[in-house]
Structure formats: structure tokens, C-alpha cells
């Protein structure tokens, strides 16, 4: 039990949460500004929001230098800030900045209330950052809800369009059920250990249990809790067969929101799951059987099988999709499988490489995915809230800039050198391959990524090769300044990651904190 901390000390510890505090206060400021501003001045909300986000990013940069490598546990162990959480937070903030830049014009085209959008985005971002910087199941659950609820609203933000509101309710119901399931798992964990602090849970498991078989016999509650918490994460990361919500919600949500949640929700859930896996699930007695081999009924094998299913099924279904947003939804599912491979590799081998490759993959996926959705949001026809392959016909004539950027994003996601995505996949699979026990998985991943290349390239086929039948669509597209900036920067980042991956992947490897290696 920790001693009570004084108010002053509490406030001092809050300093570690400066990025969060900036986000929370700016979300409120933006609400207020939105209320009092003239409607003609509302277009300044996007720059204002991004300014706040940049402040927050700067504070993260500052914190990164300030905190020790072992990280800091603050506020009665409710929050744990370390380099890992800061790196993920930085990525999330970048995602939010890009989203804000693109959304400003997108929302204006639809004539939708703006201030609330940014405010909810910031609150959601707060929840995400909190979720990745905690080692406490209670805080984690609260943070999960904190980022989920604004996302439910954002998905249904275009409530006058049937698809948007439908995606919102589908996300809401399935998400609530998933979090209720996860909550039950947390309750069971609390019941077994009396604490929800990762390190104490780990110590407890380590001291009291020997092997998976023994746990299954004497303390099935523990396995039940593991399963339910894992199910919650599998839902959020959309591993097949927990993925069914993904395509519908990606299709229906406003495109910029899809871009944001396509990356941010996934990255947050993976980061949090990574923590849970590394410190709780990875305890030897939850993985190994008595004779020291990996137990057939451990969670590792479950994830292993799910990865294989996900890789194969998601790529196959994606090939038959006509709607680009749905196709990208399935593509995001297959990317989730890759990230899962990285988690599996790390929990088996604990190398810096596999850790770095997870973060690097997330980074490449960040720019490629949000960039692709950003391009789609501009191609989207007003009111339809979706983009089919046919909408992209003759795109190369309408805006070469967008098409060139889309080319880069698509190539990156398909894993074509020299773009970031290729090295993301390459490093990830290489570290998985080195581990040895995962070589089958690597083989399947390579084969399915070849299949994947085809549906990605199909987007390009439609953009380049197809001509528009009617003349009405030929007018060139006007890309707004902020949107152009966002897309161009993402494209440059993707290229940069592909051309100079080395320094960044090494940096990512260095950010590993004592939490993960111990």
C-alpha cells in the first residue's frame, strides 16, 4: 500500500501528464470558442486545434528527455509514463493533427458543426494517450471508455446520412458489449489477485502458479479473466473473427474519422495490449506447460491461430470489395495481423528488434493509412459518404497530386519498396523469422501479402487506367491548403521512412524501457 500523497505532490506528479492536460483544456477552450465565435471565423478552429496539438507534441518531446528510462509511476500507480507511451502518444498526436487538417474543409463541405468535432477528437485522443500510459487495469478500462465514447459519436457525426448513423449504432452496441466483456474479465482478475496493478498481478501469478495445466485445474478463473480481457483487445484490434464490425463502421463513418480511428484506435489498443501481454499474459506459468514447452492451450497458440485466420481471410475478402473504404477496412485488419505477429515475436524472444519493428510498423501504417483516407475524403462525392472504385475512375486527370500521393500510400501499404510499408513488413517479418518458431507464420504472411498487393494495385488501376464515361466528373479537384499540406507531409514521411528507415528503427528499438525487458 502506498502512503498517502499530499496535494502539492499530487500536483507535481500531474506535470508528467502535461500532454494530457493540454489536450483536455484545449478541448474545452475549443468548445467555448465555438460557442462565442462568429460563424465566419469558425474556419480558424482547425489551425487553433492543431496549434494545441502541436503544443502537446512539444510537451511530449520535452517529457521524453525529462523522464528516466525506467519510466515513472505516478498518482498512486494509476498512470505509468515511459518512453514507449510517449512514442505512441506522439504518433497519436500526429494522426490527430493530420485528421484535423483534412477535416476542416471536409466538414465545411458537409456544413457540419465544427467545434464539437475537434473537441470530441481531442477528448478521444486524451483517452488514447491515457490508455497507453497506464499499468493499471482500472485506469485502462476508464481510458478505453474515454476514447471509445467520443469515437462512437464521431462515427455518427453525419447523423443526417443513414450510413453514418448506422455505423455509429453498430459500433456503439458491439463496442459496449466488447467492453462489458472485458470489464467482466477485469472484475475476475481483481477477484483473483485483489489488485489491478500489472506488476503485482505478475508477481502473484509468478509466485503461486507453475504451469498452464495447473492453472486450468486449480484456478480456471484466471484463464477466464485472461480470455475475456484478450477478447476485449481482439475486438478493438479487429482480429478475425472479432472483426465483423470493422468494414461496416469504416464504410459508414465520415471518411476523416475513419482515417483517424483506423490508425488511432488500432495503435492504442495494440500498445495497451502489448503492455498487458508483456507483463501479465507473458508470465511463464501462463504460457508454458510443466515440461517447459509452450502449452498447447496457452493464449499464445490462440493468437497464433487467429493471426493465420486473419491473414488469409482478410486478404481474400478484401479482393472482392468494390467500396474502397471497405477494402481499406479489410486491409487494416490484415495490418492488425502483422502487428500481432510483432507482439507474438516479442513475447517469445524479447529482442529489441521485434520491439522496434512493432513501433516502426505502426509509424509506417500511420502515414500510409491516414494519408489514404485523406485522399479518399477529397474524392468522396458529397452526400454519399463512401468511395467506390468507380468514383476513382480517371482520377489521374482530376488531380495528379492526389493520385501521386495515393500511389505512394498504396504502394506503402502493399509493401512495395522503397516505401515505408515495405521496411515495416520487412523488419517485422525478419525479426519473426529470426525467432525460428514463427517461420510458418512468416511464410503465410509473405504469401498473403502478395495476394494483398493485388487489391491494393486495383485501386491504382482504377485511378490510372479507367476513363470516366460521362463528362460531368472530369473537372479538376481543388485540394484545400491544409489538406494538401497534410497529404504532402504524409507522403513525404512515407517516402522518408522508406528511404532512410535505419535511424528511425534504431531509435524505436532504443525507446524500449525497463518495463519491457526487466
Amino acid at each position: 500500500m502506498i502512503d498517502n500523497i499530499s496535494t502539492i505532490h499530487f500536483l507535481k506528479e500531474m506535470l508528467y501528464l502535461i500532454p494530457l492536460l493540454i489536450l483536455v483544456f484545449s478541448s474545452m477552450i475549443i468548445l467555448l470558442v465555438d460557442v462565442f465565435a462568429e460563424s465566419s471565423n469558425k474556419r480558424y478552429l482547425a489551425p487553433l486545434t492543431s496549434l494545441f496539438l502541436i503544443f502537446s507534441a512539444i510537451s511530449i518531446f520535452w517529457l521524453y528527455k525529462y523522464i528516466p528510462k525506467s519510466g515513472v509511476k505516478i498518482l498512486y500507480n494509476m498512470v505509468y509514463v515511459d518512453h514507449f507511451s510517449l512514442v505512441i502518444s506522439a504518433m497519436l498526436i500526429i494522426a490527430a493533427i493530420i485528421t484535423v487538417w483534412i477535416s476542416s474543409d471536409y466538414l465545411e463541405r458537409y456544413g457540419i458543426a465544427i467545434g464539437e468535432f475537434y473537441s470530441l477528437l481531442l477528448i478521444s485522443l486524451t483517452g488514447m494517450i491515457l490508455m497507453v500510459s497506464t499499468t493499471n487495469l482500472f485506469t485502462m478500462f476508464v481510458a478505453l471508455e474515454l476514447f471509445s465514447i467520443p469515437i462512437y459519436v464521431l462515427a455518427g457525426f453525419f447523423r443526417v446520412y443513414g450510413k453514418s448513423i448506422e455505423s455509429s449504432i453498430k459500433y456503439f452496441i458491439s463496442g459496449s458489449v466488447a467492453s462489458a466483456i472485458m470489464l467482466y474479465g477485469i472484475a475476475l482478475f481483481y477477484g483473483v489477485f485483489g489488485t489491478v496493478e500489472f506488476s503485482e498481478i505478475e508477481r502473484h501469478i509468478f509466485n503461486h502458479y507453475d504451469s498452464v495445466a495447473q492453472i486450468a485445474k486449480t484456478e480456471p478463473l484466471l484463464i477466464l479473466g485472461t480470455l475475456l480481457i484478450m477478447a476485449g483487445f481482439l475486438f478493438k484490434t479487429a482480429m478475425i473473427p472479432f472483426h465483423m464490425w470493422t468494414p461496416d463502421i469504416y464504410e459508414g463513418a465520415p471518411t476523416t474519422v475513419t482515417g483517424f480511428m483506423g490508425f488511432a484506435v488500432k495503435a492504442t489498443s495494440f500498445a495497451a495490449f502489448f503492455r498487458v501481454v508483456v507483463s501479465i499474459f507473458n508470465t511463464p506459468s501462463l504460457v508454458y506447460s510443466e515440461n517447459g514447452t509452450i502449452s498447447p492451450s496457452s493464449w499464445i497458440n490462440v493468437i497464433y491461430v487467429l493471426i493465420i485466420i486473419t491473414l488469409i481471410v482478410s486478404n481474400l475478402i478484401a479482393m472482392s470489395q468494390r467500396n474502397v473504404k471497405r477494402m481499406l477496412a479489410y486491409s487494416s485488419i490484415s495490418h492488425a495481423a502483422y502487428l500481432m505477429i510483432a507482439i507474438l515475436t516479442f513475447s517469445l524472444s524479447k529482442t529489441k528488434d521485434s520491439y522496434g519493428s512493432l513501433l516502426f510498423y505502426l509509424l509506417t501504417y500511420l502515414f500510409a493509412s491516414i494519408g489514404a483516407f485523406a485522399v479518399l475524403s477529397i474524392f468522396e462525392k458529397n452526400g454519399s459518404n463512401s468511395v467506390t472504385l468507380e468514383n476513382l475512375n480517371g482520377a489521374s486527370k482530376r488531380s495528379p497530386f492526389l493520385v501521386a500521393s495515393m500511389l505512394i500510400f498504396i504502394f506503402s501499404m502493399a509493401g512495395v519498396p522503397p516505401f515505408g510499408g515495405f521496411f515495416g513488413k520487412f523488419y517485422l517479418l525478419k525479426s519473426a523469422f529470426v525467432d525460428g518458431s514463427l517461420s510458418t507464420l512468416v511464410l503465410i504472411a509473405v504469401i498473403t501479402s502478395v495476394i494483398g498487393a493485388f487489391y491494393y494495385l486495383r485501386v491504382l488501376v482504377f485511378m490510372f487506367m479507367k476513363d470516366v464515361e460521362s463528362d460531368e466528373n472530369i473537372e479538376t479537384l481543388n485540394v484545400p491548403f491544409l489538406g494538401k499540406l497534410a497529404i504532402a507531409l504524409s507522403a513525404i514521411a512515407v517516402v522518408y521512412l522508406g528511404v532512410f528507415p535505419n535511424s528511425l528503427i534504431q531509435f524505436m528499438g532504443e525507446t524500449i524501457s525497463n518495463f519491457f525487458i526487466k
Binding site: I2, N4, I5, S6, T7, F10, V24, M28, L31, L75, Y76, M78, V79, G111, I112, A113, E116, S119, L120, I123, S124, T126, G127, L130, F138, T139, V142, A143, E145, L146, I149, P150, Y152, V153, G156, F157, R159, V160, S168, G191, V192, K217, T218, E219, P220, L221, L222, I223, L224
Partner: protein, 174 residues
């Protein structure tokens, strides 16, 4: 004595919950849930969590469920509308699924050592479950901060976002 109260409230809880998910009319359903929350509050009280029991009734039954009632009233659903929600034969699949899963869960729980041999312990801390305990955890004392005060603040932001979200979604004009 306590055992019988538990059995009584437990049976009532399960019965009213089942009724809640069986009722065609959403108003009946919600009212049934409200009564199940009363039973739940009774169980909380039996576990010496008086304050939680009060909150359960005040907030859950009194506020949240009333919100449901309001919305249902707002829609003014006709019988023809909500009777579209009827049992289909294919619903046997999820039912079977749930029965199998529940059976597995319950057998797993009953085998668990951590809960097998626990009966009520008489020597509770003096302020267990009381308002003072709750206030201490949430708000601390005059010169220290409560353990859960941070989460309390987070919840306030969550409620803020819920309010903003509800306003955005429910207002008529874009």
C-alpha cells in the same frame, strides 16, 4: 437469516432480469430492470455496501433508467412497431451458444480455489463500505489526495464528452 435474504434477492434479481429481456414492450422491460436493480441494491446492502446500494437506486434506477423511460415515451412506439421484435427460430443458435458458454464458465468458476472456500468474514474494518470510506478514496483528507481522485477527474471528462456527444447527435439542426 442473511442467506435467505441473499436467496430471495438473488432469485428476484434473476427473475426480473429474465423478464426484462423477454418483454415485448420496452416500457415493461425497463421497469422490470428497475426492479431488478432494487434487488441488486438489496444484495449490495447485504454485503455491507450501504452507500453503493443507495447510489444504485438513486443513480442507476432513479436517473439512468428514467432516461430510458423518457426516450421510449418520446418515441411513443406503437404496438405494431415493437412487436416486430419477436422470437425467431434462428435465435436458438445464440441461445444454445450462450447456454454452452455459460455452463463452461460456471463450471470453471465453481472449480476455482480462490473463491471456493470463502464465507463472510465478521471482522470488517469499521468504515467498510461507508460514505467516509468512499470520500476518503475519492477525495482524500485535508492534506492528502485520494487514490481514485485522478480517475474521478477522468470520469468527469468522460461525462463532458458524453454530454457534448449527446448534444451533437440529438440536436435537430446541423
Amino acid at each position: 437469516m442473511g442467506v435467505y435474504i441473499f436467496y430471495l434477492f438473488g432469485t428476484g434479481l434473476i427473475a426480473t432480469s429474465i423478464v426484462a429481456i423477454l418483454m415485448k414492450n420496452p416500457v415493461h422491460s425497463v421497469l422490470s430492470v428497475v426492479s431488478s436493480f432494487f434487488f441488486l441494491a438489496g444484495i449490495y446492502a447485504g454485503l455491507s455496501m450501504q452507500f453503493l446500494a443507495v447510489i444504485q437506486i438513486l443513480v442507476y434506477a432513479g436517473a439512468i433508467m428514467v432516461l430510458f423511460i423518457f426516450i421510449i415515451m418520446l418515441f411513443d412506439l406503437q404496438k405494431s412497431e415493437y412487436s416486430k421484435d419477436r422470437f425467431l427460430w434462428r435465435d436458438l443458435v445464440p441461445l444454445a451458444l450462450i447456454l454452452i458458454t455459460a455452463a463452461g464458465f460456471i463450471s470453471a468458476i465453481s472449480r476455482s480455489e480462490s473463491i471456493k472456500n470463502y464465507v463472510a468474514n465478521a471482522k470488517l474494518p469499521s468504515n467498510f463500505g461507508s460514505v467516509s470510506a468512499v470520500s476518503f478514496e475519492f477525495f482524500g483528507t485535508s492534506n492528502s489526495v485520494g487514490r481514485f481522485s485522478f480517475l474521478f477527474e477522468v470520469i468527469s471528462i468522460l461525462l463532458l464528452s458524453a454530454i457534448v456527444g449527446a448534444v451533437v447527435l440529438a440536436k435537430r439542426k446541423l
